[in-house]
């Protein structure tokens, strides 16, 4: 796995938009002065007449998208997660969520892997915010292949969708030939009976690495990729809880309101088992190189393996 191709999922977003330009003429793309960084600029190049830069004005961008959607357009809107889910939360809630608009909120630079820009730009709360909106679909792809598939699926889906993309180049571990994306369906990436690791986004690949390391220590860890955090795949979680008896969740997001709590809510009601969460522990991020920050916050294979081992042994 060492010499795997790496690609940031925001690149995948840009590529998927370029493909959508030809497939679906209802697609329009809006950005807020970050087209270069979010990669929506790739669509601008391909299809300038359907690209609109709204400037540094995220609230207006969201409202404009809602208006476009009422007229049959399919707006894909992008900025950093902090400035969409964060800055424009209430506009998303009331102008997109409540009227159930067909708008695709494509937020890049999520989580602490934003790196050097620091806490003001590292959104560790977007999943929590977006999950709380009734009717919002929330997707957090794990790699390039999945991210592209998610954008395509969102275009075909009727209703508001939030998709979270990353800034850093991430290993492309899914294989395009056999990869199948279905909104709301978790993916069993590795079977196991001692403990289950449920991960999303960048943390899925780290969890696979952790499971390999655990296997060498005689621990048989199951790995599940939850790309759709809402609606969550209850069946795959309940089955894992019943068959492995313990779940470790891993996300590049706050432990409050994210994947971990979504999973725990399912198990608490339907198959109570111990759920341990890895994520940002109720703290703000800080400046530094992305990979260094992920390590420092335990968002890496080593820590996942250690926590999963302790959990398996505590059963």
């Amino acid at each position: 796995m060492a010499d795997m191709i790496k690609k940031a999922t925001r690149e995948s977003y840009g590529e998927a938009l370029v493909e959508l330009a030809d497939i679906n003429e209802k697609v329009v793309v809006l950005d807020a002065d970050l087209a270069e960084a979010t990669k929506s600029g790739m669509f601008k190049k391909k299809c300038p007449e359907r690209f609109f830069d709204c400037g540094i004005a995220e609230a207006n961008l969201v409202g404009t998208a809602a208006g476009l959607a009422t007229c049959g357009k399919i707006p894909f809107i992008s900025s950093f997660a902090m400035f969409l889910a964060g800055r424009a939360f209430e506009q998303i809630r009331n102008s997109i969520g409540y009227p159930h608009m067909n708008v695709k909120i494509c937020a890049t630079h999520a989580g602490i892997s934003v790196g050097e820009d620091g806490a003001t730009h590292q959104c560790n709360e977007d999943i929590a915010l977006m999950r709380a909106i009734p009717g919002m679909t929330v997707i957090s792809p794990s790699d390039h292949i999945e991210a592209k598939a998610a954008v395509k699926a969102a275009a075909d889906f009727e209703g508001p969708v939030y998709i979270r993309f990353g800034r850093v180049a991430a290993p492309v571990f899914n294989t395009s030939d056999d990869y199948k994306f279905e909104i709301g369906k978790g993916l069993l990436l590795r079977d196991g009976k001692d403990v289950t690791i449920v991960a999303t986004g960048l943390m899925v690949y780290e969890s696979l690495l952790a499971a390999e390391a655990l296997a060498e220590q005689g621990i048989d860890a199951r790995v599940i990729n939850i790309h759709t955090i809402k609606p969550i795949d209850k069946d795959i979680i309940i089955k894992a809880a019943k068959e492995t008896g313990a779940i470790l969740t891993v996300e590049e997001h706050s432990v409050i309101g994210g994947l971990g709590e979504a999973v725990a809510a399912v198990t608490a009601e339907e198959a109570p088992v111990k759920v341990v969460k890895i994520g940002m522990n109720d703290k703000f991020g800080y400046s530094g190189p992305a990979l260094e920050l992920l390590k420092l916050e335990g968002l890496c294979a080593d820590n996942i393996a250690a926590k999963a081992k302790a959990l398996a042994e505590s059963k």
Partner: protein
Amino acid sequence: MNETTKKELMITACKIRMGIIEGVYNAKSGHPGGSLSMTDVLTYLYFKEMNVDPQNPKWEDRDRFVLSKGHCAPALYSALAHKGFFPVEELKTLRKVGARLQGHPDMKGTPGVDMTSGSLGQGVSAAGGMALAAKIDNKDYRVYAYLGDGEIEEGQVWEAAMFAAHKKLDNLCVIVDFNGLQIDGAITDVNSPCPIPEKYEAFGFNVITIDAHDFDQIEAAFEQAKTVKGKPTAIIAVSTKGKGVSYMLNKASWHGAAPNKEQYDIAMEELKAELAALEE
């Protein structure tokens, strides 16, 4: 302004620019363009205008400065370091793990930083709050907020403007860095906020347009601002993005990119030459 003072300010500005390049180069990321365009006005504020005490950064009666365009932290940090709030050497720790000098200003960690910022459009509201507090407490400190010309596309900036004028916050002075560029290109191509002076006038501000790199005009503007009662002031500071480093001049691509070693050497040589000429 007399020639000696002007020369001193120009020398300080040049050193502050070097500190900007030093920080961004060592961090391998950050925002040099807008940091360099605001340097002269910032130098004037910290070295001539503002009543601050590096030994007592939280002094209650100090004048306040809010960097609403928080991405230009390298300029603020360099000004603060040269003013004596912390060692100039510390500029090299910019954006590193454990550093006080975060990618965007963090008032909890950095001496001299009056407000946390980085999400555009928000700092100026906080500045309004500080100015209002001075009115409540009958204090005569002044509050300065530095905005980007792209930043003023945010609706919140105009909510803050409406509030400041309505509450007659004549102790508030906003400065707009009119360098004509934002990330995606020219402000007039992206989502034009122009005409800027007319907008602030319509919002009830005392408006002064100046050349941001001319210390006489800078001084005249801040002096005039202090004499105006009942209205906040907006200084529209027409600037050149990347000022001081030849290859960064007027280039949107240098908004948020760090120089490599070779580019760093060129920038430092240019600034050293400028400094030597001034110190002759």
